[in-house]
Symmetry: C2
């Protein structure tokens, strides 16, 4: 087995099978595998849990790198996490954090397909322009500019109904405090807290949760293990129909991996960060 396209810090990879003694993994097929950072590997499929190794379905001509992006774990997280937990309805206002990442950028586009108004928070003006001009977000806000409560109120004067949170930290509290009655929050990631988890002290949103009767649910994507292929198929069709656009930040060469990893944590990438070898 030789890796042809690799993933980010989460150690997911799309591999092409170079040699095989297992009929379920034929030579030439592409597989998704959770194996850590490496250029080539020898695998015994029996050593893997169900969702850590599987043959990628036909991508209809789309690049295999999407197997670790919109057509892999991030895509499934966006699709089910948003639809199943946020339960968006047409006309509602949706807020997404880390909106220019591989999960957030897909959540926002799915929300537009569902007829929602979509507001994204991201970390640069360039990313804001990409979200608004190319992906169709109604508004993108650069969270580094400050006065975020005021900025959100200006673009969502009627409040927020759905919140897909990849971020955590103070930004989450600001958004939660502008939610409407019976608002739904999906917790997917905690980028803002990865580096200071033990110290983060936040303003309480407890009273808001009660008075607005908000619901919140954290999730890990493998909850939908049984519906994995269904999610990928749905997203693939959205892409092939032109309703969803993807973008990847490609890093070329195995030796660039540490730099790519740091870029991810610093929020420099657009869409999914991919290491290509």
């Amino acid at each position: 087995v030789r890796r042809t396209t690799g993933g980010n810090y989460r150690k997911f990879w799309s591999f092409r099978v170079l040699d095989s003694r297992n009929k379920k993994f034929p030579i030439g097929s592409n597989v998704y595998a959770l194996v850590g950072w490496r250029s080539h590997t020898v695998l015994n499929p029996e050593d893997f849990a169900k969702n850590n190794l599987f043959v990628l379905p036909d991508f209809g001509g789309l690049p295999i790198s999407l197997g670790i992006g919109y057509l892999g774990m991030p895509g499934v997280a966006a699709y089910f996490g948003f639809l199943e937990i946020c339960k968006p309805k047409a006309g509602e206002t949706v807020v997404v954090t880390t909106a220019a990442g591989s999960v957030g950028s897909l959540v926002g586009q799915i929300a537009k397909i569902k007829g929602c108004k979509v507001i994204g928070f991201t970390g640069s003006d360039e990313k804001c322009r990409w979200l608004e001009d190319e992906l169709g977000f109604d508004k993108a806000i650069n969270y580094k500019v400050g006065k975020l409560a005021k900025a959100l109120k200006a673009v969502a004067p009627d409040g927020v109904d759905c919140f897909f949170d990849n971020c955590g930290g103070e930004l989450s509290s600001i958004i939660i405090n502008q939610m409407n009655f019976y608002g739904r929050i999906a917790l997917c990631g905690a980028v803002a807290e990865y580096n200071n988890e033990s110290e983060a002290k936040l303003r309480s949103t407890h009273t808001t949760f009660i008075l607005k009767q908000l619901s919140l649910e954290g999730f890990v994507v493998y909850r939908w293990a049984d519906r994995w292929q269904e999610g990928i198929k749905e997203i693939k069709e959205m892409i092939l129909e032109g309703k969803v656009k993807y973008r990847e930040t490609i890093f070329d060469g195995f030796e660039i991996l540490p730099e790519a990893f740091i870029d991810v944590l610093e929020g420099k990438n657009f869409g999914k960060a991919v290491i290509k070898v």
Copy 2:
């Protein structure tokens, strides 16, 4: 209309009708009304929303004061809030905060009826004894003693499945961080935050919510307006069958009201605080 039994700081009262020109509110009947602190009042039923004024159902010989306790708003909050949001299953471990109050003490008893292990947090050793010895809680913890994470771990070594939270603040975070996969949290009140809402800064539980896939929902009891009488009927039967015990802290005389109010906020009362005139 003359009040015979009154409620706490939330301004709910049980009144006896002394005179009436409305057939729906006959003389001698008992009514529940959200009217503020007063000894007598004249009401036009049309001025009230559905759940702010209604004739109390037959209590089967139980005292009318329960109309503002287990057979009123707190009872309905405990019954539906716990069963509908926490969705307890037999054998699970349930934690309740402000466990000796009119909501918490009923939640704990309903949890025991459902076959759960029940742990309550309250503010004195005397209340702990009441919860354990009379109400059947498996364990009650005096939150003023400190080392709460360790104390909870000792009595719930396998983690917490359901958390009915009346409290908020740091105690909530401690409990949430000991919850099991797919744990459910109902937010009912925020006693710990009533006096310092603007300043409360809490350790983030964001990452725990994701990794444990917890769900949380805040509620206001009027959500179950359409099932109000159903809730009261169920609780009344639990009391009449001897499965649920109630206790009230009675304050006698209208002039004692400010003192009673302060006692509630200081956590001195057992069960529902009632002003009797």
